[in-house]
Amino acid sequence: MRWTLLLSLLLSAGVWAVAEVREFDSPEQEDRYRELTEELRCTVCQNQNIADSNAELAGDLRDKTYRMVREGKSKGEIKDFMVARYGNFVLYDPPVTAGTLLLWVGPFLFLVFGGWLLLRLLRRRRDRTAVTVDEAQLRRAAALLRGDEDPKA
């Protein structure tokens, strides 16, 4: 029961998307509009694309996108239009430039750093736990495992 509830909550995320009736000249136009609104970021609610956002500005940008799609503008033209006004920030998939390089490379730097940290930790632990065991100790351990009385006790 609890799981179905949780699952239905997760699956209903799409319901949050804004319902709007838009008419298009062709299915291709509609696809272009849908793709663009999913790729353009809402600048006031920075973790949402403009398709999902209820913010008024997102509505304005959807309107603008819609009008440009109806005018027959290509995806590239519409993206360029938005970038010229709002910067690369409006793209969820920003191009690699000097300014966004850290954004792209950053996660890998973290990975390398984390890996190095882990390696160091493991190496140190191994050095510390390297214990020498002599014959007598081994015999005693075997006896204990067999269930015999501890020969030393």
Binding site: T43, V44, L57, D60, L61, D63, V83, R85, Y86, G87
Partner: protein, 181 residues
Amino acid sequence: MKRWGVLIGFLVVALLLTAGIYMAGRDPGFTRAIPSPLIGKPAPAFALPDLLVAGNTVSPADYLGKVWLLNVWGSWCPECWKEHGYLATLSREHGVLIVGLNWRDEREDALNMLRRAGNPYAAIAVDPHSNAAVDWGVYGAPESFVVDKQGVIRRKFVGAISPQVWATDLGPLLKQLAAEN
């Protein structure tokens, strides 16, 4: 010995987070300010009806040869109310040319705000459908753009203009731009 390392690491991270929150709290524009790609570009053109003079249109081209401020505002925006009085002082006492862009507002509400808080604007363009706002890359209010004599955007300021912001930032910039030809 190793415990200390962990503790110091923790303290460093905690300090960074605190500094971030502190800076974000001090400057209202800090968390939202996205650098505008329009700096150094000609101010986008528009021709919108004037809120105050029926039949008139307001256009950035009207102000070529002057240094001016485009101030994006709406009566629905609390920060706009906060800066409004000071903007009026700037235009009245310091002779700053401020053009308003009344964004997503109702006519009556906008006029009411001017009656209550004063009118700092030489003219007010009415933009209920964000036509000019999107062209100028506006994503909130208040936002102010500094436009030079050539009609080029030189600076964008996000958030309420305070006497401190004016004294340290916008005021000196306008003075410098006024000296250009």
